[in-house]
């Protein structure tokens, strides 16, 4: 094994073109690494070895024939099992979709397949992307590559772990309240949460429609930029993708941060945030200062209400979105014969959903019901407006914000799984960014004394993903 699986996208692309190795050899190294590590990590729920090999051989033939191929051609990648892949099982880690094979691709998969990518398989997640640890999966938890007794984070835990453990070069995930940034931070890699609407969600199972985003994981900043370039943009099949020009993301990688104003939101360094996490993020701020950036303290006073806004608004949207799962058009039908059609629904959904989904559907149903709608749902929507204003005021003073991704490094498997509220609080520093629809890039920024990765997030105004990349790239180089 030559460890081609550890290369960056650019190194791999150059190696393929220089004929140092073939796409099939690159794939073989990734598959060997999966065989070696995935029985412990449980990052993949479905492997498409044959499909991947076929695709790699196609790329090799094209390279042989001297065809000019896109940069991502032949590069092995993985996809969160919430994103539809034509002909390859897409389970959402839910019993109700255990055998579901979508007949079409999500728009992001269409866009990437046009690049001749090699899709290795589908990755583990919390059921329907609801959770922060990948423990709410019908396939069991994904473990952290740095410590098998700890979680990989969630909900895109499989997509983070497989990239961190060199099983592929990059992956796709989704982020509704931190589901890309938090696992990236727990696994010591980069994770891009884009502006709401920057990447199409067509063919991606909806959780909370006004919060969901699709983004990507990688082991370095350039790889984040290269993949984002291919998936960003307007899509006729997703009317929430605005007609905003997609810049050349790679052009931000060599810009310095001299003169840039970067804010540290004081609420993100408050009590409850692990001192080692605070120290690592502040140390990165010092590095940016040395590079010529101006560091300013800012305040986002409504931060502490974000989790409450999320746990009203998201379950409300989710309870409506998950109404489609009735065991009729797709998904598992009830295991025993129902008495009538209503009983059919009760049984299909009662058997088909796990605890966390049942909890969220019921919270959503409750807050949307007559008598509670104003007190909970509308109130949350108003407080969401105040969170958005917080950021807008901060961005009048600074160009970007940096903050910890999570209050702690990766926690133990089983530690929070029976305490939903404690698990929800682990997202306290990521949720506000989703509430305001902003881009946030998680970057590794150190390790704890016990060797666990720590991550920071770079937050920018809407559609300024480039600015996140610029700051991340400056930090990556020092």
């Amino acid at each position: 094994m030559a460890n081609f699986n550890k290369l960056t996208i650019r190194q791999a692309a150059e190696g393929l073109r220089a004929k140092n190795f073939s796409a099939e050899e690159l794939l073989n190294d990734c598959l060997a690494q999966i065989k070696l590590r995935d029985k412990d990590l449980n990052a993949f729920v479905t492997l498409d070895e044959n499909g991947a090999r076929e695709q790699a051989q196609t790329v090799d033939k094209k390279l042989e024939a001297g065809e000019k191929l896109p940069l991502l051609a032949g590069i092995p990648m993985a996809v969160k099992d919430l994103i539809y892949t034509k002909g390859v099982k897409t389970t959402c880690a839910s019993p109700i979709l255990k055998d579901f094979v979508p007949p079409y691709d999500a728009t992001v998969m269409e866009m990437l397949k046009a690049q001749d990518i090699v899709m290795i398989g589908k990755t583990n997640l919390d059921e329907f992307a609801c959770g922060g640890s990948t423990e709410h999966s019908c396939f069991g938890p994904t473990k952290n590559p740095f410590d098998l007794t700890r979680v990989a984070g969630g909900s895109s835990g499989g997509s983070a772990a497989c990239v961190a453990a060199d099983m592929c070069l990059y992956s796709l995930g989704t982020d509704t309240g931190g589901s890309i940034r938090q696992p990236a931070s727990f696994c010591g890699i980069y994770g891009m949460k884009v502006t709401y609407g920057r990447v199409s969600r067509s063919g991606v199972n909806s959780m909370a429609s006004s919060w969901d985003t699709v983004g990507n994981f990688a082991r370095n900043v350039e790889d984040i930029a290269l993949v984002l370039q291919q998936i960003a943009g307007k899509d006729r099949r997703d009317m929430t993708t605005p007609d905003v020009a997609v810049p050349d993301y790679s052009s931000f990688l060599n810009k310095d941060v001299k003169g840039m104003k970067i804010g540290l939101p004081k609420e993100y360094f408050a009590e409850g945030v692990d001192p080692e996490v605070v120290a690592a993020v502040k140390n990165s701020a010092k590095k940016l200062e040395k590079l010529g950036a101006e560091i300013v303290e800012v305040s986002l006073p409504y931060t502490k209400y974000a989790v409450a806004v999320y746990y009203v608004s998201v379950p409300a949207e989710l309870s409506a979105n998950l109404e489609r799962f009735d065991g009729i058009r797709y998904g598992k039908k009830p295991s025993e014969d129902p008495a009538d059609i209503v009983d059919f629904y009760f049984k299909a959904r009662g058997e088909g959903f796990g605890d966390e989904i049942k909890r969220r559907i019921m919270i959503g149903t409750y807050v949307l019901s007559a008598g509670y709608f104003d007190a909970y749902y509308k109130k949350a929507q108003r407080v969401r407006t105040l969170i958005i204003r917080d950021f807008a005021e901060a961005f009048e003073k600074v160009d970007a914000l940096i903050a910890p991704v999570a209050p702690t490094p990766a926690f133990k498997v089983g530690e929070l799984v029976n305490d939903p509220l404690a698990m929800y609080m682990a997202d306290v520093l990521t949720i506000p960014v989703n509430a305001a629809g902003l881009p946030g890039l998680a970057c590794p920024c150190g390790v704890t004394a016990s060797g666990l990765p720590i991550g920071l997030q770079i937050i920018a105004p809407q559609f300024e993903e480039g600015r996140c990349l610029q700051v991340a790239s400056a930090l990556e180089k020092v």
Partner: protein, 96 residues
């Protein structure tokens, strides 16, 4: 704290069959979350507009062009575990 009856009523509205132990366990957890989100009540939101979408899009229009469906009718029907009859999914009898 929600009563068992309230939990069962919400589950009924959401078409979820719950066991007795689920009613107890999930009910307690849901009550905990609802208690927590009550902190929103302390925020003064007088005169604040509700946010239902964040990028300011309004009246999104598209060219009047029919898009090709990404999947055929047969492929979509094949997703169902129920019998397919006359290009439709056959469900169990509704009228008694």
């Amino acid at each position: 704290m929600l009563t068992d009856e309230e939990v069962k009523h919400i589950a009924k509205l959401a078409r979820l069959k719950l066991s007795d132990s689920e009613v107890e366990r999930l009910g307690k957890q849901i009550s905990g979350v609802l208690d927590y989100v009550n902190i929103l009540a302390e925020v003064d939101t007088a005169g604040v507009q509700e946010t239902s979408q964040v990028t300011g899009l309004q009246n999104v229009m598209a060219d009047d062009v029919v898009l090709k469906s990404p999947a055929s009718r047969e492929e979509l029907l094949a997703c169902s575990e129920l019998p397919v009859d006359s290009k439709q999914v056959r469900v169990i009898k509704i009228m008694k």
